[in-house]
Each structure stands twice: as C-alpha cells, then as structure tokens.
Symmetry: C2
C-alpha cells in the first residue's frame, strides 16, 4: 500500500482510506467525485465507493490522476459491511452526532499507532447511514454539530489529522502542475 | 449586519459573506446547498448566489435556519459584478491557481483590520470563473494547488481564518441541537 509522503504527527507514516457510503446514480455523481478529489488532494491514498456501481466518478478521478499525478486509487465495493468488518486498522466515522473533532484527533492518532500497518479508514455518509456503523466504527467524530457537507467534513478531518501538511504533498508523474500566483494562472507542463 | 459570535484572531470581529458564482439549474443544486450549509456552519453570515435563480437551494438553507437556528442569510443576486464592484471591504477569491493559503491568511487579516466595517467577501466558483475576478479580488487564494472542491476549499479557508473556533459557534433560537456523543445520536429539542 502506498503511503502518504508526509507524517501525520511527526511519528510513523499512516495510510488513510476513505469509504463513501450509499453512492446513488446520477444524483450523487458530483458529490462522489468531489469526495474522491478531496480524499486525493488532502492526503488519503484511496477511496472506496459503495452503493450504485457508477462509472462517471471513477472516470473523473482517473482523469485527474493521469493529468495531476500521484498514486491515489478509486474502487467500488459491493458491500460496505465487508469492507468495515475486514478492516485491519482504525475506523473513523464522520457524523454530526459524533464526538468533538478536536478531542478525538489525539485519541485517533494514539489508536493508529497501535496497529503495525497504521491504516485508518474514514467513513463518510450520504443522507442515510446504517445505524450499525455507529457501533462498528472505533470513533464517531463530528466536524461541528451543525448540518453541512460530507465533502467539507472529510477535508477538515484530513486537514486536522495531517496538520495542514497534506496541502504540500507532491504528486509524482504529473503532466500538469500549478505554481501558486497572486494574479495569474501559472501552469507547468511535463515531468 | 450580524457578526459572527467569535473573533477571527482575538482582534475585532469580522463578518464574512460568501459569493457563489455561476450556480446553474438542477445540476448544481446540491453543490450550492452544500456551499450554503458550509458557509453557515463555518462562521459566515450570509451567502449570495449568482447565476440561475433557483429556489430549492434557498428553501433548503431556510429550512436548516429555522430548525437549527442562527442568523445566516441566503439571497440571489443577478450580477456578480455589481456585488464585487460595490463591496466595501476585502475580497478573497478561492482558486487553485492562487497564492498559498498559509501565506495569505495573515495578509488577509491585516487587510480586513484596515476597514472600519471589517467585511470580508469570499468568492467561490463553479467550473468556469470569469477572468476579471482575478484582478477584481484583493487576494486570489489556493487551498492547495490540486483540483478538488469549492465546498472543501470554503470550509478549509473559513476554518483557518477563524482558527477552528467557528466549530464552537452558537446558533440562537435553534429548535434542535446535537450533544456530541461517542456512540449515540443525542438530540435536544426546544429552546
């Protein structure tokens, strides 16, 4: 499994997978694509989709991978339950009902360190999440207790978990790279 | 204008408005709704939509306001250019081509302090953004230089700007509130 190119807490490296529940056809394509792009841009190594088997999301993410580089993976899984049951590592479920993010992060990191493989699964929902998830996850975590967006919750969780360093990740084999600029679009091509 | 219930930097209070560009019918309803909910949950005082005049997004946000409380406002504006031209305060445009977020935040705060009203406008795009925006904004800011999501970019920007305090905002007149919990859904009703 590929590792993120930076450490979660100046300790050992950790790989984060995202499980996106209940993807449904058409209506969720953009939200699922945004979830995948956020997972990639904020340091996760892969996203697993469950629900409808839908190709547009996979194609969008793969297009981004091929242009913008990196080893991010996307795949579909028929059963979220199999993924969660067989997960050898820590499981975090992002939900507005969960415990406070700031209090949870140190506990999650401590928990990740106990696993040899240091694998973290982050579950994000759609509108309805099966009740069992709450007991199957090691941590139910709230990014604020107001309704907002699973895309935002995922970004904030990963940003806090990786302490902002994920925004400086490098993506190998990129055909296109942006150079930050105050007024222009500065794009570099090639390797 | 209502102010956020906390300070951006232990200095004077600041009110943040979000301008969502290029909302189009149907295809963008969920992304626009998520943008609005993120603006509300992460400490902005209002969102202005431009593009198609579409009611579902307004209705969704207003439903959330009435149940979950607070003074967040949503409105439509026919012309983004009028909003931007007439803005009396600082203007930030979130774009993957912009300058580095961490370097920009202190400069933006410094700039906000110079305005008596301390108003900040945060512009988020849809897929195509008019080129003029880059020169009309005071700051073009990149939340990472990888493609991801305007919803995530907005959340991360506000979270950094308000230094995580926005997740502890209170929303007056809520009919429903969540009490953070490790395993359960704990909901409080009434005022």
């Amino acid at each position: 499994m590929s590792k993120t190119p930076f450490n979660a807490d100046d300790g050992p490296q950790c790989s984060v997978s995202v499980l996106r529940l209940g993807h449904r056809l058409v209506r969720d394509t953009r939200m699922s694509t945004h979830s995948g792009l956020v997972a990639r841009a904020f340091g996760a190594t892969e996203i697993l989709m469950t629900g409808a088997d839908e190709d547009d999301t996979i194609r969008s993410i793969e297009r981004v991978n091929s242009r913008w580089g990196g080893d991010f993976r996307i795949s579909y899984s028929k059963s979220w339950k199999e993924v969660v049951k067989n997960w050898e590592g820590v499981i975090v479920h992002l939900t507005m009902y969960g415990q406070n993010l700031d209090l949870a992060i140190p506990k999650i990191k401590e928990s990740v360190r106990r696993f040899k493989d240091r694998k973290l699964l982050v579950i994000i929902g759609s509108e309805k999440v099966p009740a069992e998830i709450y007991s199957m996850a090691n941590f139910n975590v709230a990014v604020g207790s107001q309704p907002h967006s699973e895309v935002a919750a995922l970004a904030i969780f990963l940003d806090r978990f990786f302490r902002g360093k994920e925004l400086y990740s490098s993506f190998p084999r990129a055909k296109i790279r942006i150079r930050p600029s105050e007024r222009e679009k500065k794009i570099e091509f090639g390797n």
